[in-house]
């Protein structure tokens, strides 16, 4: 928090992130409520600026929180599959059990695809932010370093991980699906 500058974006961000990850609805009333509760603890010098930064932080946090819910916790189907209780290790040749294994393996394959999508999204966001920095007139020495050193290396690593997942994890998951289907 930077009270002297009237910047409360970090506090708003934390609350926004928390609201979204807990599944609370996004609305202006939510921000206002948080702000009213929050400001009681401080003597706010520049009220308009403080509330503006708090609201901006809240919105950014809320967006990140939504992405966290969608990206990390997966969909309902996946969550149900992973949280189902199983009694013990049952006979793998049981047709019902084999069907369940196929369902789980397909969900696992989708999960692997989601990892790749998320990696590509982070890479695209990184690239977009650097482009914005260029457009804003950032000193070219700094901008070039971010682009040619930091982001280029990040992008290369992301491409390697994605390639690895496609050629190994996903390929093996599909092979095992085929083997279980053959056993049906």
């Amino acid at each position: 928090m930077n009270i002297l500058k009237g910047d409360f974006s970090a506090e708003g961000y934390k609350l926004g992130l928390n609201d979204a990850t807990n599944g609370n609805k996004p609305n202006k009333k939510g921000v206002k409520y948080h702000w009213e509760m929050f400001k009681k603890g401080f003597r706010i010098l520049n009220h308009n600026q403080a509330m503006k930064t708090f609201s901006q932080g809240y919105e950014t946090g809320f967006t990140d929180g939504l992405r966290k819910r969608e990206g990390l916790y997966g969909n309902k189907k996946e969550s149900e599959l992973l949280n189902q209780k199983t009694n013990t290790i049952t006979m793998s040749s049981n047709p019902e059990n084999l069907q369940k294994q196929i369902e789980l393996l397909n969900s696992f394959d989708n999960f692997l695809s989601n990892i790749q999508t998320n990696l590509n999204n982070v890479n695209a966001n990184y690239s977009n932010l650097i482009n914005e920095l260029y457009e804003s007139g950032l000193v070219s020495e700094y901008a070039n370093k971010l682009k040619d050193d930091n982001h280029a290396s990040f992008q290369s690593q992301i491409a390697k991980v994605n390639q690895w997942i496609s050629e190994n994890d996903k390929k093996y998951a599909k092979k095992v699906i085929g083997q279980v289907q053959d056993a049906l």
Binding site: L72, L82, T86, I89, K100, Q101, L104, F154, V161, N168
Partner: protein, 107 residues
Amino acid sequence: MPSNHLKKNITMNTNIEYQIELLEKLIRELDFFSTQVAETTNKYQKYISVLENNGLFTNAINRLTDEYYINTKARLNEVVNQVQNKDIPDAKDLIRRLEKIKVSMEQ
């Protein structure tokens, strides 16, 4: 009426503030990515565990664990290491430089 020099300083100052905002956004994005990787590897492990509990044959469980999970986790962690040890510190360093420029322009 501000002189051209002053006008130019005000414009540059606004740009620097915006650039700092963008760099802070980049840091948040990269921090979020690091959290996401940790969650992802946990979920990967959970999939293997659920598949094992549902009777998937041992050879597949062993390969998924010893070969694919370990390698993929290591590769993802390499990216996180770069982000945490290089990209985020570099972005923070750049913010400090921009703040210094901003202060010197205000004086």
